[in-house]
Symmetry: C2
Subunit: 513 residues, 2 copies
Amino acid sequence: MDSLQKLGGINAIIISHSSSDLLPTEGSEEASRHFLQEIVNILLAYMCKLFKRSTKVLDFHHPHQLKEGLEGFTLELSDQPENLEQLLVDCRDTLKYGVKTGHPRFFNQLSSGLDIIGLAGEWLTSTANTNMFTYEISPVFILMEEVVLRKMMDMLGWSNEEGDGIFCPGGTVSNLYSVLLARYHFFPEVKSRGMSAIPRLAMFTSSHSHYSIQKSAAVLGIGTENVLLVKCDERGKMIPGELESSIASAKDRGLYPFYVSATAGTTVYGAFDPLNDIADICERHGLWMHVDAAWGGGLLMSKRHRVKLQGIDRSSSVTWNPHKMMGVPLQCATLLVRKKGFLQECNQLCAEYLFQPDKHYDTSYDTGDKTIQCGRHVDVFKLWLMWKAKGMEGFESQINKCLENAEYLFDKLKNRTDFLLVFESKPEHSNVCFWYLPHSLRNLPPGCERDKKLHAVAPKIKAKMMEEGLTMIGYQPLGNKVNFFRCVFSNSATQREDVDFLLDEIVRLGHDL
Amino acid sequence: MDSLQKLGGINAIIISHSSSDLLPTEGSEEASRHFLQEIVNILLAYMCKLFKRSTKVLDFHHPHQLKEGLEGFTLELSDQPENLEQLLVDCRDTLKYGVKTGHPRFFNQLSSGLDIIGLAGEWLTSTANTNMFTYEISPVFILMEEVVLRKMMDMLGWSNEEGDGIFCPGGTVSNLYSVLLARYHFFPEVKSRGMSAIPRLAMFTSSHSHYSIQKSAAVLGIGTENVLLVKCDERGKMIPGELESSIASAKDRGLYPFYVSATAGTTVYGAFDPLNDIADICERHGLWMHVDAAWGGGLLMSKRHRVKLQGIDRSSSVTWNPHKMMGVPLQCATLLVRKKGFLQECNQLCAEYLFQPDKHYDTSYDTGDKTIQCGRHVDVFKLWLMWKAKGMEGFESQINKCLENAEYLFDKLKNRTDFLLVFESKPEHSNVCFWYLPHSLRNLPPGCERDKKLHAVAPKIKAKMMEEGLTMIGYQPLGNKVNFFRCVFSNSATQREDVDFLLDEIVRLGHDL
């Protein structure tokens, strides 16, 4: 009831109204405006609270608790309609029991923050409610996609004569596209005849790369065992010599190497593979070079940091997710392809009910047939609007700040005895990986026994952290390293005081373990 | 300038402000609220205008015109930031030059309309800005997905012991999932070993089915030539006997039949394949039966119309897009699978940085590993909220009304001599397919000569229609039928007067051709 009281005066108009009293019903303009205005008031209040450090990041409940219904919040759907008043309460509750991914102390995911301009862009996008298949129904968004992708390709260093691209539902789908294109490049007959008409393929990526490369191999019928994971150095970068020998051994086993995915910003360590060395190898062996810059692509916006992606201009395709390092609301992911017209050639099926050749406008703007999704959500507008609002310089300062936060954390950890860095070198991206050593472990020598105990520390701290809800950070094991924390910075709201808070909180929760 | 003047009083706060004066900047709450409120005012004004019949559906411009910049609206991005005032103008212009897919006279696409509750749901979703991989960061939405999908599976007639599902970025991806699951069902080794370890597969679908089935075959490495298109009757329904003989001939050619996609609501004719007959054949031959009910699934909400999907309970998987017939904002598409746990088994790769087995809550709610996308947009909330608001009965009356509009159009066309129906029987779904015969063609006998001229009629009318912008309808050829109009109803704003208007408009634009 409390939530209702806060809704204010115009609520009187809404009480007892139902959705059938809204547009397009005749004479329902006022009621529709008022209902949406109430929703917006809830969202504005949420947004202002979100950035306050006194607000909790989450109010944790187990699945069974949420399912049982909390203080009248029921997820169940009945056959009868609810009135608008109840819907407003449900909206407040949905936000209340959710996780505030925009909170300055949310360090859990590569995507975080809440950009107000991007948010405005999403609100407009959903109001426009259209689909990206044709120019006919998305004239403005189709052209914006061209403009934004061209900008991004310029930053890769591709000339005006090269480059094409598409917005995808997430980086995994972008990576899948890259494998699909590479396969078609070498074996165009695969589209009609299938994999049985071509040799057994081999793909290469580093052992630290994102699992979507393997997922693509599973989906495309290449098989996960034909994805050869190349060894990394201790910093998480692919070792070029290992790639060479991996290619040779695949050939010896009768496989047909065709594709390498280098990573620019690995998920856990934030490592950048040596792109020029890998490009040399790809050129020598005639392989398709993809760069998975889903996470690291944003650094191209920074004069200070873009050097880490040197060689990306030599790639055949690139994944770059503006919803990660550039802070664009979810989802906003791209796949960029160097060879013009190739997306169309690889994917088109020319369905005539959608892509009529006898239209009165230039149908090369009907981009739907370039894709595998057919219908596509409009993901470009929020990015276009943010770019207008910030310019390159705005993105640059946002990204530089995230990397400064990472350096600040790294410098702090270096000098602590209760924390241990997973690797000693300065972070290249905004990932910082570390263990916390509770008192009981601090005097144990490194080795199996300590590792076994250490492995249990991060999950225990994370569990308490979620129950208390003041901050959030992720953990995972990797290779022979037992569970460690990974802190990432992509939220422009995060300040040094939040980094300090995170460490204090880990100590507070883990001290006595 | 005109657009600026209309922005009203609080605009003063915005003038000369830039995005860096918004949250999370200290002390920027008021400016942020005001900026978003201005955006909302623009959106509310758009929304109210949208449903007015005096508003044009579109204000058409060719790509080169929009690219050159119209009345100061430039799509180009500069390196320097624009102020907030300019962004508001850009937002108004983006809507101005777009297509009003919610307009009562927009008949161009299977998705249309603008549901106010659904829109509120999308605004909240983008404000929450989270991702569907884990319960950890999407507790409420993950549980809502479970609740909504269960409801949908109940309507398919699946028992509580069966059924699983996922929201997908569009029906094409849902269909792709179904083929992927079917392949894994018969050949689980394909995931690791690839297509070279298994026999050459054959898939079956009708010649009227959606092209995404062929696209899936291309992507998954099965090959489009191994998708056998089964003949339809003149109403566009798959002929069961033809499916039988197609399966037999595939076997004769050494192929391994494994998958049939029946369509419940074809894209052009709106036809429903005979599901029970097809299920009998699938059972007899041990094939995976998928039902592509992307367009027709909504009819399950209607007691009057659900009989058309009889037999859908016998399917192994179903595609059903609430963003089509149920009027949910884009995107909202589902894939439902009868075999519990099978999505997980087929797709999981257990990436430890995301799906830690040592979490403190029930990790079966970490649904991300069931998917091929990894990161997933939250598509469930708007549907959940609409379901709360309307109940089953609200969806039912919305859908019944769309089908009544189709019958009304059909009845009108039957009695006209200047229009010709593509098939004579009453529409099963809301699709109505017809030719318009201009004066000059009316006395020609049916045959090649008339067909040649008739083929040019729809594109010419459509071109004029888009230039004038008062309504929009699609056309296409199909099989041996030359270009004809396809009218579809999925917008609850559309009334009979709009149907009348459409026909009058076609006559007005095409009369003298």
